[in-house]
Subunit: 288 residues, 4 copies
C-alpha cells in the first residue's frame, strides 16, 4: 500500500524559477517529493505542474499550507490547489448518474468493490429505475428521479438538490442520456465527467454508432470529457478506439464500443480522483 | 512467389444460390479457387463476393470469360469485374500526384523499388517541382504542371490530358494539396485515392493537425479514401490512429501523423491494386 | 434479433471443387447461405470453411443432415461439424472455473446478464470460496471444491465428476490458478479456454507481470487460448496489448492488464460459442 | 524552430531535496527550465531526472558547467551528463550498419533528408554492397566491409577501426544480420541500438516471423533496444505491435513487420539523439 501523500497542482504564466521556488519551499518545510510533473505549453506560454509529496514528515498541514504558500503563489500569479490524502483512505466521493445502459455502471461498481478505485461511490442516481438492482447489489443507494410528463426542469432541480445533499467531489455521467442545463454544468465545473460513445469531435450528439456505420468508418471510439455548456465539446480526458470492418453492423459496433466506453470512463475517473488532471482553456493536461 | 490468379468481384442483391451458381460455374471450367470472401450487408440486403482462382488450368481466358459468364451475371443482376494477372507480372499502372510534402511519395517509391508493391508507378505529377529529385532518383518520370497565376482550371486540364495519355489504373493523391473538379473526379471514379491527415469524419478540410491540437484530442489519425465530389467525404478504405498527449504540439502531431499517413495510404494502394475493395454506396467492403 | 441459423465447419486437404460441391449441396436442400468464410493455408495445404445458413427453409434437420452430408464429406476426407441454433435461444452451456481473482468472472457474468453472451453460464466452480457472492448475486450456482491438504488430484477428480454432471459445451478458466492434468485436458479437448496474462509466448508460467516488469518491456498483453498438455502453449484464440512506461510498476501492470484479460477472454468465449473457431494443428483459424 | 537548449540527465539514489537543489542551482545561474521530467522507481529507490533549459541566458558554458555542478553531484552521488545543443544545429553523429534489407535504412535516410532527424547520418557500413545505391543517392558515404571466407573477426576489427575514425555518438544496427563481439558492444555501450523484428522477449534470435507463424500468434511486433552481450536481451527502448490473422502467412508478417520496424527504430533513434533515455540496470527510463 502506498503511503498517504499531498498533491499540489499549479498553473501560471511561464517564467524563470517557478520550479526552484516551489521545490525549495517544499524542502524548507521538510517535504519529500515522490513525483513531479511539469509542462509548459509553447503556444500559450502557460506553465503546469503537479507535485506529489509524502504526507509523513511534511511540516505543513491542510490548515497551515495555504497561509504559508500564498505569498509564493501570488508572486507567480498561480492558480493552485492542494489535496491531502485522508487518514481513513476513503478518497473522493463519487455520484454516478445513469439511464438504462448498465455496462459503465457495472464496471465502475466492480472496480470500486475490488479496491481498484481510490475513491468511494456514495450514490447512483437514475432517471429510469432499470439499474437499481445493480447498484443495490453492490450496496450503493439508488435514487430514482424520473422525468414526469416531460418536465425535465423539475427533475434536474431535484437532482441538483440531491447532489447538493451528497456533496460529491465528482459526478459521473455513465451513459446518462439527458443533457444538463448550464446551471447544473456550472455547479460541477470540472467535476462533471461524461462518456461519449465516439472519438470526438466525430459524431457529436445522439446515436454515434449509427452515424459511424452510415459513414463507413474503419475505426470507432469512445471519449471521456468534462462537461461544458456546448454538447460533447468539453475538455477531453481520455480516448480509445477499435478497428471495425464491413462485417460489423450497428449492433457489433455497440458491442465493441461498450468495452471502449468502460475502459475510457474508468480511466477518466481514476485520473480525476488521483488529481492528475489540470484543465487549461478547453484542454486537459494529464500527468499520468 | 505466388502463381498468377484471376480475381472475380461481384456485387448484387442477395438471394439464394449465388455462391453455388458461381462456384459451380468456375468448377465446370476447371478453375481452382484459392480464396473466396463473401459478405451480405444486413441493412441493405446487398451481396458482395470476391473469388481468386488459379490462372493455370482455368479453361476460360480474359477474352472468353465475359461471354460465358454473362448469362449467369444477368440472372442475379450482378455488377462484376474480372482481372487477369498479367504474365509479365507488371500489375496495375499507378500515377502519383504530389505537391511539396514528400513522405508518402518517398514511401510508395521505396515499396515499389523493393518489390512490395504488386503494381508499377509510371509517373509522378507535381504542381510544385520540389519532389522531382525523389521521383527521378527512383527512375520515375516527374511531370511538373504548375498552377500559373491562379489558373487552376488550365492546370487541371493539362493534368487530365497527361493522365489520359498515361492511362493509369489508379491515381494516388499523395498529399496533393489541390481539390479536383467534378470532371476529374468522375473520370477516375473509384480509381482515385486520397490520403487525409485526420481520422475522418473529424477535421475535414485544411490543417487537420492544427484543428486536432486546438480541440485537445488524445488521438490523431489518418484516412485513405476514394475521392468523390464532396471534400473528404468519399468511401473510406483504411484508417489508423496514434495516441498523443499534452506534450505534443502541432509539430509533433505532424511528425507522428506522417507515419500514419504513409502506412494508411500504402495499405489503400495495396488493397486497390490487388482488387480487394468493393464499393457499395459510400462505403467499402474490404476483403483482406 | 437475428434469425436462427445452422453453422457448418469443415476442414480437409485442399483440392478443386470443394466450395462448389458444398454450396451446391446446400442449395439443393433449399438452404440460404448468409455467411461463408474460407481459407486455405498455403504452407500446409489445408482447407478451412465455415458456412452459416438460415435454419428457416433448410430442408435438412439436425437428425437428417449427417446422413445426407456424409458421402460428400467422405469424398473430400473432411473433418466437419454442424451446429443447429436452438429454438429456445439458450445457446451453449458454459462452466467457469475460478480461484480468487474476480475481474474476468464479473465481466462474463455481466455480459451474460445483459444478453451480450449468446450462451448460458450454468455454474461457477471455485477452488476458493471468495467469488461465491459474485456468482450467487447473478443467480448462478457456485460450487466450492477446495484443495484439501494439497491433494489436488482428489479435487480435480471431484471437479471432473461435477463437470460430467453439468455436461458443458465450454469450460472457461477465468484466472483459475491450477494446472489441469492431461486427463482433464483430454476430456475437454478444444472446449477448454484459458486466459493467460501475457502476450504469449512471452512470459509463460506464473507471475507474468512480474516477469514483464523485470524485463522492462514497453508493451504488456493478454492471451486467450485452448488448453493443451503443455503449459500456456495451446492454440491461441485472441490477444491484446497495452503500452506501458517506466512509471508503471507491477501493480499498474496488473491493473492495466485486468482490462486486457477481460476483453480477450470474453472475445474467445464469444468466438467459441458462435462456432467461429477451427483448430488446425496448434493454431486457430478464426472466422470473425 | 526551437531555440538551442542544454539537457541535463541525472540518476542517483532517491533522497529528500534533489529537485530543489538542482533547480535552485540552475536558477542561481540564470537558467530557464523549459522541461523537467522526474521519476523515482519504487522497487529500486533510484531517482531519475531530465532537465532541459534554454541555452540563451544560461550563465554556465559547456566548459564551466562541470566544475560548478560537481560538488552538488557528489553530495547526491549522482551519475550525470549534460549536453549542449550545437550552434550549427548539426546534432549527434550517426553511423548505420546494414546487410541486405533496406527498409529501415531507407526510412532513416528519408527522415534525415527531410529534416525530421535532429542528427546527422555520417556513414553507412554494409557487410553486403546491396544497399550502397540507397546511401549514395542520399549523399551518404557507403563503406563496404564484406566478410571474407567466414572471417568475421577480421571484418569486425575493420568495422571498429572505421567507427573509431568516424567517432559516432550513435551506431544503429538497421537489420544488420551479424552478432557483434563483446569488445564491440563494450566500445559503444548504450550508444548501440538494434531493431529486433519481434515483440521481445518473445522470439529471440533468427527468423522471428517464422517463429511467430509457427506459434500461431495473433499479434506480431518489433523492438528497438540497446545492444548488450546477451542476444536480444538489452534494455528495451520502444516496441510496437500489429494484429495478424490466419490469412497472414510468413510473407505477410514480414511485410506488416517492416512498417513496425521502421517506426520503432526511428523512434529509438529520435529518443537517443534528443537525450531522452536514461538506462538503469537493464531497463530504460524514457522521458518523452
Amino acid at each position: 500500500m502506498r503511503s498517504p501523500t499531498v498533491k499540489l497542482l499549479i498553473s501560471c504564466p511561464d517564467t524563470r524559477g517557478i520550479i526552484a521556488a516551489v521545490t525549495s519551499f517544499i524542502a524548507r518545510h521538510q517535504g519529500n517529493i515522490v513525483e513531479l510533473d511539469q509542462h509548459t505549453e509553447d503556444s500559450s506560454g502557460q506553465f503546469y505542474m503537479r507535485i506529489e509529496l509524502e504526507r509523513a514528515g511534511f511540516a505543513l498541514s491542510d490548515q497551515s499550507f495555504s497561509g504559508e504558500f500564498s505569498p509564493l503563489a501570488r508572486t507567480f500569479a498561480m492558480q493552485w490547489r492542494a489535496t491531502w490524502d485522508l487518514a481513513d483512505g476513503g478518497g473522493k466521493r463519487i455520484v454516478i448518474c445513469v439511464s438504462k445502459e448498465g455496462h459503465c455502471l457495472s464496471d465502475l461498481l466492480y472496480r470500486w468493490q475490488s479496491g481498484e478505485l481510490e475513491a468511494s461511490i456514495v450514490a447512483v442516481i437514475g432517471n429510469h429505475a432499470d439499474l437499481a438492482p445493480l447498484a443495490l447489489a453492490a450496496g450503493v443507494p439508488f435514487i430514482h428521479l424520473p422525468i414526469i410528463e416531460g418536465d425535465r426542469q423539475r427533475q434536474e432541480a431535484a437532482m441538483l438538490a440531491k447532489l447538493d445533499e451528497l456533496s460529491p467531489d465528482l459526478v459521473v455521467l455513465a451513459r446518462y442520456m439527458q443533457v444538463l442545463s448550464p446551471v447544473a454544468v456550472k455547479a460541477y465545473h470540472h467535476r462533471l465527467i461524461n462518456i461519449h460513445h465516439s472519438f470526438l469531435p466525430a459524431f457529436v450528439g445522439p446515436k454515434p454508432y449509427h452515424q459511424a456505420f452510415a459513414r463507413g468508418v474503419k475505426i470507432i471510439g469512445a471519449t471521456s470529457h468534462y462537461v461544458t455548456d456546448e454538447l460533447d465539446a468539453g475538455p477531453i480526458i481520455a480516448q480509445s478506439v477499435a478497428h471495425v470492418g464491413h462485417r460489423d453492423g450497428v449492433a457489433d459496433m455497440i458491442r465493441i464500443g461498450r468495452d471502449l466506453e468502460r475502459v475510457v470512463l474508468a480511466k477518466a475517473v481514476r485520473l480525476h480522483t488521483c488529481d492528475k488532471i489540470l484543465v487549461g482553456g478547453n484542454k486537459t493536461v494529464v500527468f499520468d
